[in-house]
Amino acid sequence: MPPAQPMTSQSMSTGPSPAMKGAPLLTVQDLKVYFEIGGNRLTGKAPGLVKAVDGVSFELRAGETLGLVGESGCGKSTLGRAVLRLLPIRSGRVVWLGTDLAKLDHKRMRAVRRDMQIIFQDPLASLNPRMTVGEIIAEPLQTFQPNLGRDAIRDRVKAMMAKVGLLPNQLNRYPHEFSGGQCQRIGIARAMINEPKLIVCDEPVSALDVSIQAQIVNLLMDLQREMGMSLIFISHNLAVVKHISHRVMVLYLGKIMEIADRNSLYTEPLHPYTQALNSAVPLPDPDEERQRSRIVLRGDLPSPLNPPSGCPFRTRCPRATEICAQVMPDLLPAKPGHLVACHHADYPRGN
């Protein structure tokens, strides 16, 4: 896949442009994560199969932010967790710096985890209420660098707290003494303390107030510029994802609908689902908001237990035809760096 354009915005211009040359940090090939639901061994009732992630492939480069968007139940969180091997993989490959993670035993996987971290949606629930902030942030350090002395750990923790905008003298406080935004900063400090190469951010700002969201988004972008880690940024908020990501993947019932450089995806979405998603987001501008035409999808996301045949989106798609019920369209390049899976996509002229 050709590299995404280096960003020229004010926020990114001073940092290293995401190094999108060379070998990818992470390559995911045909990843499948299935869950069995229900079923009864006594009565012999077969369990239902939820294909939460169904044949997803993508690459992630060092210093790059990949946004994952989609509605609840589309598999975006499952994908993020499966990449970290926090969930069992049904099939497919997750290649991390040349090593297939699915083939690693627990001991070797544990060593790799030092470089992969995660930040969760609910900042307070993801912190142990009985540990002080200092202990929480120090824990990954003690786990992966057991030879570090107490003073060294303390210094590293304090430096990290300052870096994420916490007061280092709050080291001995407990999570409940902090607000949601500050708890999210603690979560970020814990994820960053080992200077990982990848952080999966699972809806990191969804539980926060608007004014605090902006603080956390800026913090993540600043940290990335400084330390160069890659981010997989999962959110249902399209505007936030657009703001932070270099590339964006749109998921629907476990399948990639479209993946592209963020400007390409937002200014020229080719998949009818991406177009509908874009037009559904209300803009904070009364004039524009009341004038623009929007595509309102009918109905809800189909049950993942019983997905539609062919293209999963066809039941709500304004362009669906017969072929959509029969064949799942392949994810194909429509233009450089812009892949779309649709029989009726708006291919750019000349294609």
Binding site: S179, S211, Q213, M221, P284, D285, R294, V296, L297
Partner: protein, 321 residues
């Protein structure tokens, strides 16, 4: 224009073991017939508690003072029996989470017909007929069969439609919608907003729309009031407020939102710091700790909500931004 709701000097406090919490600190506003009033604010700004006070739904340790007139009649402090003649009938409310606000033990039929039998004296079958009509109106397919189902058999978007249908059953003059789409996916949110726009146009009821999403406000509201730490900090028409915010907090909120229609990702402007602790508000202006324009007067004197232009008012010592 007829005023549906007239609120003056409404103060809501909660008694807690740690002392008194001032959730709403003396607000004043009106809602006119057929108008959508947007109420914006962060968590803890008091935006929901204003309307919980009005509906008589405060938690047991809550207490509301002041005056709330519904179509000219005082309703604050009415006993439950008298209040029930107004709420649920002429003024109803929908909540953020439709799963927890519907009763999981009762069929949708029971929950919908109850209000009609009780308030309008209809027979059970008459009420059921009305309920089906209302479900069809909020675009629930196969409404007749659906009526006998239980809340868990509906999806999130459908549940919110059921809530809206229930709220509309008695033809209220005022609908209070507290974060009606926050728990929903964007595509479903778009459906519900479309529905509210249509219903408001057809029925002509007034809506109080409480939300933290400025996009939703931009789509639906005629007028907006912005809440901070229990007080209204700015009030005005939706256009004025979005195009030319005059309170530093409103300005900060608008700037801190990433926008889908931005072409370049510039650094987001943020409002520094945290929302204040309601038990321990700073002296003077509650926003001064986070305000980039704060000066001495902001520490010593609390700014009052004052009109500064036709239909606009703000609580700020600065003459203009």
């Amino acid at each position: 224009m007829t005023k549906v709701l007239e609120v003056s000097d409404l103060r809501t406090t909660f008694t807690t073991p740690e002392g008194e919490v001032k959730a709403v600190g003396g607000v004043e506003f009106t809602i006119n017939q057929g108008e959508v009033l947007g109420v914006v604010g962060e968590s803890g700004s008091g935006k929901s508690q204003i309307f919980m006070s009005i509906m008589g739904l405060l938690a047991r340790n809550g207490h509301a003072k002041g005056s709330v007139k519904f179509k000219g009649d005082e309703i604050l402090g009415l006993d439950v029996k008298a209040l029930n003649k107004v709420r649920g009938v002429r003024m109803s409310m929908i909540f953020q989470d439709p799963m927890t606000s519907l009763n999981p033990y009762l069929s949708v039929r029971r929950q919908m017909t109850e209000v009609l039998v009780l308030h309008k004296g209809m027979s059970e079958s008459e009420a059921a007929k009305n309920a089906v009509e209302m479900l069809e109106r909020v675009q629930i397919p196969e409404a007749k069969q659906r009526l006998n189902m239980y809340p868990h058999e509906f999806s999130g978007g459908m549940r919110q439609r059921v809530m809206i249908a229930m709220a509309l059953l008695c033809g209220p003059e005022l609908l209070i919608a507290d974060e009606p789409t926050t728990a929903l996916d964007v595509t479903v949110q778009a459906q519900i907003l479309e529905l509210l726009v249509g219903l408001q146009r057809d029925v002509g009821m007034a809506i109080a729309l409480i939300t933290h999403d400025l996009g939703v406000i931009a789509r639906l509201a005629d007028r907006v009031m912005v809440m901070y730490a229990g007080n209204i900090v700015e009030k005005g028409s939706v256009r004025d407020l979005f195009k030319d915010p005059q309170h530093p907090y409103t300005e900060g909120l608008l700037e801190s939102m990433p926008r889908l229609n931005e072409t370049e990702a510039t650094r987001l402007q943020t409002i520094g710091g945290q929302p204040p602790n309601l038990q321990n508000l700073p002296s003077g202006c509650s926003f001064r700790d986070r305000c980039r324009y704060a000066f001495e007067r902001c520490v010593t004197e609390r700014p009052l909500l004052t009109a500064f232009a036709e239909g606009r008012s703000k609580a700020c010592h600065l003459p203009s931004l």
